[in-house]
Symmetry: D2
């Protein structure tokens, strides 16, 4: 039985805590959050201890592993405290918005042989996982192009945008990790474009963008395209297509129901998409947590490593640099 | 070069005449219709002779084959006149609304070894033909069930309904032929239901229905279901599904364009279906005519025989009888 | 907190017990099954008492409601014992294979104002429920035709078939209930066909069928078609289409993933369907249980009544009678 | 009646000649090709004069308009000869592989007010045209991103590649025109990537690529992505998606039939895509020719101008330059 403390009782902490509670090999020991009422509410509903001191939660003897769902600028400190005590960590991305700090942390974790998993949840989505399996099984031969569409249902509030690190580090980073994973080969070159089409006034304040395109290329010449927008009126648009020498894999958006209607205006119109990432990736979050526990219990390698997290951040940095310079950036 | 006269310059005659003109092995000699202006207009546009006397058109020396697109009650007389002269015939369905007269005509045609093809155009639709080929090639093993949906975009005018012979002889008959053809085995039992849901007042006058369901069974137990309605607000709905021991074949409705739209109300909504039979079966009418000419030129057996027409009419009669008696009817 | 005993620790009992355990307003008190090890295994995993005497479980003071998942021929006895004690019941269908016994039980339950819900789980499926809501909201105007396809992935073992009551009482009954519910009006006439196409030798022994079609009609003339087969090589095929005066609602089969592949042989091929009813209706079973608990807690009317169960059985009996007599049967 | 000469009796000339013959406002006067037998065969089948001298065909008094389907390096000379005589021209793309020569030609045509249409056939495809109409009608609000996938079913022969001008000028150019047209605003910046994944040895010889990605941006920040490959094992893949502030438009590949099969391996697998551009854009070629004739007869502006052709070539040049320099290129 793996004893677990969840740090951060916000949106993402709630998901992880519930998934821990439902995992038969794990026990939710504590939920820690400086906002005492948030910690108490979440811990109480799941029969765990509520704490306001995250570091104290890490230090508990009955805690074997921590899940970090706190603000980004606390990630490294909490993660390293746990690693130095030999405790396992599941850390939300990114490691840090500063790439040098991230690099140093990853180097230290690797030196200490720390058991740390980065939470790129999409890799655990049933459909994306099936896609990766099919690619690895040779179903479409050699991968040539990966096309990723990822659009949010609405622009995040200004307060969120301000601290997000920008669209490439906050949003595109998921797609860059997914693309790199599906390519099965390291990107070596990246070019990006950013635009302000949703709310130019607000995004200009932060030198940020709401609409973006990225292209990456690997050493062998395989290519990946990502397109993003912070606002799609028809919902949370998440699609991936992988084209190879022997075929193509694609997948569709997900809906709560497959109901479709035909009338005098249109035919076979479907209902709304699953609203946003919490709904769309509900199963992925659960499978991710289960994979983390499974790796701990069976002493297997972590399915997503800190270096994967660092690499994704480097690609996001490359995108920022490419938009700035108008050049293809080696990554 | 096969010399052809088209009898009847109405909606269906126009289609056949244009297809004859486009067939490199045929020559459109004449268009005959008692409505002189209709005959002239159609014949003129295609460089053929306009005639008002259908019988005279049959008798011409340069006419090798006739296409009958005149009102139903003239079919037998015109067809037999041509057959007795050794001329080939493509005749619109049904042979006649009276089954005894139809039977006598078919017997005589067979006795004379007349070259007559019944115009069940759907058999020549690319998708239905591909379906039949796949079945015959064993793609789904032994056929178990055929499900046919066939709905018109709007109720025909009362004048049409009055002379139609009723929904089963006029509309369902196409599906009964299609079902029989796809089953690949003769139906031996049929049950039907009829309702008046679109315009009860009008249809009651003619003891007719606007909404119907039919089930047929063959000696080996394979089954076929047909559902019809004279009015579907979303357009001309034409779908067939064939279920077998090793799989299932299905096909979708056809649209002018594959464009689909997602917005704040719905996702992936498609545009309208092809409007009605002339558009939906445009290719089928052309392939049907080409198959007729091809059979004549290569002296092959007719791809649809008068007996097929008679058989479809018998099934339609069975449906009428089943609705009347509330019994399964041997057919 | 509603105290619940689950009677029967088989396939269906396991589902209900887990759903009870996950419902915050209910407490799983006991699992009862004459097979002690089955009861112990299930009860143990969920922290409930294991019992071998179903009647004793009903009689417990801490049990407010029972869920009956025992063999069909025990349903009435257990249900009536609970009802007479004023306890609520969620009973798997059918009430009994004997319609007279079922009728007597339903009459007594209604006389006692017993709180009994029949487990027609499909009514709680997200898509079917959305369909019903859309119909009731007038999205497609007046319903004209309901088309239901329901095929099992494989023939049940002979031992199951022997005690099933036949395809109409065991399998079609779900579709008859669904059809009646979606029509929104009572069927008054029914005709059915049965065939033996999967395993004629075995089914003949029990005067049963493996392939069936049913048509029903209501007083106003709306129609419903059901087609069934005990074996579809491509999986558990569950589709419904509702056609109305202002449009059509349809829904697709469900799959574990939306992945599709295109290669040199075919394009956009999807993966397998959800395997069978436990997977396909997993959410429906949960929603059904939640609706039962909700009705108890809020003292609302039961969403599916014993009379619904009786009515479905009458329709199934009508199908048996129609196949026997070759007649439309008033129901 | 517009008298027309088709120059070039190859693959594309055959299509245009047949479409001219079918247009009621045009008359096919002559087919000219230095290969006498090709000219004779095509002209003979359509009742036109066969000529071997293209210039003589242009000069004929009964020729009002010419259609140029000859090798690219003859386009300008033939086009200018016709324009200087006041004759109309439908010219296959590109104007020339040399951008300076193209520019000079376009300038002269505009100075002479020549009636010249560039044959970007995809703009006349039913679905793309419906897409453009919907955009212009505001169906999806302001365009934000256009995503174009265009893959050939097989690598062209080396002889073709050698004279093609490279993937960007030969293949991508269609997508660049389509993207520019759908964006509804001039691209100002372009970045491209090229890879050799299909046949590196052969393409290296010509400093060419077989797999490419392009991104373009307009002054207002709207974006367009194009992905290309010379070889897709599953067929001719032609898809476009347009994402806007109020919705998204998409369209699917086209197939000869909508037949789909489900079996023990997969479900709802569709058949092959329409094989290649001649089949896929058959309707588009016809509509393009009809639009050309219509513009002549009604003295309307040409629907696609020489400047459109020059602009597409400039974008293709930009892609070549971007791949060479690794920079975003102003265009």
């Amino acid at each position: 039985m793996v004893g677990i403390a969840v740090l951060g009782a916000g949106r993402i902490g709630k998901i992880h805590a519930a998934n821990v509670a439902a995992n038969p090999s794990a026990r939710l020991i504590a939920v820690a959050d400086p906002y005492a009422s948030a910690a108490q509410s979440l811990a109480g509903s799941l029969g765990a201890d509520a704490m306001t001191d995250c570091e104290a939660a890490i230090d508990r003897n009955d805690v074997d592993a921590i899940i970090i769902g706190t603000p980004t600028d606390t990630h490294i400190q909490l993660m390293m405290r746990a690693v130095r005590q030999g405790k396992a960590v599941l850390c939300e991305k990114p490691i840090d918005l500063d790439i040098l700090k991230s690099q140093a942390a990853v180097d230290e974790i690797e030196g200490l042989k720390g058991r740390v998993m980065l939470a790129f949840n999409r890799r655990f989505d049933t459909t994306f996982a099936a896609m990766k399996l099919a690619i690895d099984a040779g179903a479409i031969g050699d991968v040539r192009q990966v096309i990723i569409t990822s659009r949010d249902p609405g622009l995040a509030p200004e307060e969120y945008i301000r601290h997000s690190g920008g669209i490439f580090r906050d949003m595109t980073i998921h797609d860059l990790d997914l693309g790199r994973w599906l390519l099965g080969e390291e990107p070596v070159e990246l070019i990006a474009m950013g635009s302000r089409l949703v709310d130019a006034a607000m995004l200009s304040k932060y030198d940020d963008y709401d609409t973006a395109m990225v292209q990456m290329k690997t050493a062998s010449g395989t290519q990946c395209h990502v397109n993003n927008c912070r606002h799609a009126v028809y919902g949370y648009d998440q699609r991936v297509e992988v084209f190879g020498s022997k075929g193509m894999l694609a997948q569709d958006n997900q809906r709560a129901s497959s109901l479709r209607i035909s009338n005098h205006e249109f035919t076979d119109a479907h209902g709304p998409l699953l609203n946003f990432f919490l709904e769309r990736y509900q199963q992925a979050y659960k499978s991710e947590l289960d994979a983390f526990i499974d790796a701990l219990v069976k002493e297997k390698a972590m399915p997503v490593t800190p270096r994967d997290g660092l690499r994704a951040l480097q690609l996001a940095e490359g995108a920022v640099e490419s938009v700035r310079s108008g050049r293809a950036v080696p990554v």
